[in-house]
């Protein structure tokens, strides 16, 4: 009567198990290379640079690379969370500049406001991004694109169309930006600490797992009882906060709220995150990879400078080609993993 196929209960357990275990091992190996591919490339590049450029291996140079990488690293950290949820945040570049300007302005009231005010301002814009994306189902790309424009407009409005550069008034804040501990700048220590927090948050808390779940499958996550909208709002808030913090750190370092900082910061951050092995489709990614991605971009830039005389146009060609190579390599690794 039943159509159920009654099969031998302990079918080929041994065969399957052995096969599966082998498959899992390969899986994990390839997975490791794929996840840490950026790290592998980074190591190779550093070795090459060390061998070719005598100045590259100096301690000072390492410090310079690190301190230059500090603000972009923070932005990339926020972007990692956003991208893991399957979103994207184009507003970070503008928030970074805005954060720097308000931080410099607020430094007249001391060190603490110099940090808190930019966090508050950029956090609020992050909240707006998050609310619009989570509750109106508008595409993150377009919401944050609008925020990019809006935040830049706000920054210009606050700085007399960009012509007023507020100087940092707090000496403690300024020395935070330029001072160092054990030969490594304070900002680098701060960023390192934030990254450790970020790693713990992403891999060891419920929130972190909710972030992965939302990116992995939004509908499933919601049916499994994850507060999808709240999670989304939070990642954009984090991204905003981190961009504001990056702006503050940079203001401390530069001693002023510079208004002409480069556009395109958001694309750099996305590139770093993607090179670090985080999938733009969401649901997978690591912070360690992002660190490697940020440093990789920094080291490449440093190498180009070490050559000494590369015209500016060639620098871009090299960066573009490099980006393509890394991303293509990354994709083949992922594919290898899927097929085996």
């Amino acid at each position: 009567m039943s159509t159920g196929i009654v099969s031998d209960p302990e079918v080929p357990a041994a065969v399957v198990a052995a096969d599966e275990r082998r498959a899992e091992r390969t899986d994990r190996m390839v997975g490791l290379v794929q996840r840490q591919g950026a790290l592998a490339v980074l190591i190779v590049v550093v070795l090459v640079a060390t061998a070719s450029f005598p100045n590259f291996r100096s301690f000072d140079n390492a410090g310079t690379i690190l301190i230059a990488a500090a603000p972009p690293a923070l932005i990339a950290l926020g972007m990692t969370f956003v991208i893991i949820t399957g979103g994207i945040d184009l507003s970070v570049g503008s928030l970074y500049v805005l954060g720097g300007v308000v931080s410099a302005y607020a430094s007249q009231w001391g060190l603490i406001p110099a940090f808190l005010v930019p966090l508050a301002v950029c956090g609020v814009i992050g909240v707006l991004n998050g609310l619009l994306i989570a509750y109106t189902r508008m595409a993150p790309f377009i919401v944050t694109l609008a925020a990019l424009l809006g935040a830049r407009g706000l920054m210009r409005a606050l700085s007399d169309e960009g012509s007023t550069t507020y100087l940092v008034r707090s000496d403690t804040f300024r020395s935070f930006g330029t001072g160092s501990f054990l030969g490594i700048g304070y900002p680098v220590w701060l960023v390192a600490a934030v990254f450790v927090l970020g790693m713990v948050l992403l891999s060891r808390t419920r929130f972190g797992h909710a972030v992965y779940a939302v990116g992995g499958s939004e509908d499933a996550a919601s049916l499994m009882g994850i507060a999808v909208r709240r999670t989304k709002v939070w990642v954009y808030v984090m991204s905003g906060l981190l961009a504001g913090l990056a702006g503050a750190i940079n203001a401390a370092k530069l001693g002023s709220g510079v208004t002409v900082l480069g556009t395109g910061m958001e694309l750099d951050a996305i590139a770093a995150v993607v090179i670090g092995g985080t999938l733009l489709t969401g649901g997978a990614g690591t912070i360690a990879g992002t660190i490697a991605g940020v440093l990789l971009l920094g080291v490449i830039q440093n190498m180009i400078n070490q050559v000494g005389n590369v015209p500016s146009s060639y620098q871009q060609v090299i960066s573009g080609a490099f980006l393509a190579v890394v991303v293509v390599a990354q994709t083949y690794l992922v594919r290898l993993r899927r097929v085996t």
Binding site: A68, G264, S313
Partner: protein, 337 residues
């Protein structure tokens, strides 16, 4: 490849000595700086490691001429090219900061910087002054203490350029009319100063000239043209356009032509002194151009040599910029860049 100009010999740069920078006589009593005061050590430029940090892509005549002048002069002095490290920040300020810091790490003994921005150099100064590396900033000034944070500034007085442009405009319009300003990139110090100088001077010498329109043309020809087109539609009675660089002026010229205006209907005054703009004067579309001379190489290295020889160096070395108008455009066009 074959360009339109392939048949004609390459223009520009043919006469290296043409258009060299001339220093204005220093104001008496101005602050100066010696090697001793600065606390540096004497070095021989010929064997020294020199770093040059360019701010923007060498994509407009000013930057091209500036970088070329530095490189040419270094070669002329016999500095081996391996000892001259150059970087370009591609308009990204943070990149310029780390470029310079990296050059400091790599042991340069003299820095020539064309800063992208006047503020924000704290971390660089902290690093450079620890190693007592003299910094010469060219074309834009840095807001800091000379002889401590940096050695000296060589360049034009942007505010003064704005004032001179205002004088020209006043003369062109006979002290009355309405004028539009094509602003440079927002937030840029050059924009700020050229605007301030122009407005102050207009208010002083020709209060009957009204500034009715101010929009940014981003220092680019295309934007300059677009904005001018809009301007000419809504303010058809405009008499003069003050463009804060030549590129925007050239954009405005195209806009005037397409709007059916005739030569001289709208007086254009601009700043920079590129060949294209001076040609514009010759052709009758541009009224006058105030020069901003980018050939910093000779003056920068001369200053450095003097400094290492122990001579006092002035806080600001302001060059005297020329100006072009109908009277001299044709004859002097070869000294334009």
């Amino acid at each position: 490849a074959k360009s339109e100009d392939s048949d004609t010999p390459a223009a520009g740069g043919s006469n290296p000595s043409a258009g060299a920078q001339v220093v204005q006589s220093a104001a008496p009593g101005a602050k100066s700086c010696t090697l001793e005061q600065f606390g540096g050590t004497k070095i021989d430029l010929k064997t020294a490691k020199v770093g040059f940090s360019q701010s923007e892509k060498e994509a407009n005549p000013f930057r091209i001429a500036e970088t070329k002048s530095i490189k040419d002069e270094a070669a002329k002095l016999g500095i081996p090219s391996a000892n001259l490290q150059t970087t370009n920040a591609n308009s990204q300020f943070n990149k310029q900061i780390s470029d310079v810091e990296q050059m400091i790490d790599s042991g340069v003994q003299l820095l020539v910087i064309a800063p992208l921005n006047s503020d924000g150099w704290d971390s660089v100064f902290a690093k450079a002054s620890a190693k007592k590396i003299p910094i010469i900033t060219i074309d834009r000034k840095i807001n800091a203490t000379s002889c401590k944070d940096y050695l000296t500034f060589i360049g034009s007085d942007f505010e003064e350029q704005g004032k001179r442009a205002a004088d020209k405009m006043a003369a062109a319009l006979g002290n009355k009319g309405s004028v539009a300003i094509l602003l440079g990139a927002p937030g840029n110090n050059v924009t700020t100063l050229r605007t301030k100088g122009f407005k102050d001077q207009i208010a002083k010498v020709a209060p009957e000239i009204k500034i009715t329109f101010e929009q940014t043309g981003q220092f680019s020809r295309e934007e300059g043209q677009k904005v001018s087109e809009q301007l000419l539609q809504s303010n058809s009675d405009i008499n003069g356009i003050y463009a804060e660089n030549d590129e925007m002026a050239l954009g405005a010229t195209v806009a005037l032509k397409t709007a059916g205006k005739k030569k001289g209907d709208v007086k254009i005054v601009s700043i920079d002194g590129t060949k294209g703009a001076v040609q514009g004067i010759v052709d009758g579309w541009i009224y006058s151009v105030i020069e901003s001379n980018p050939r910093f190489g000779p003056l920068a290295f001369e200053t450095a040599t003097k400094f290492f020889n122990g001579e006092p160096i002035a806080e600001d070395i302001i060059i005297s910029d020329r100006e072009y108008d109908q009277s001299n455009a044709k004859t002097d066009i070869n000294s334009a860049y």
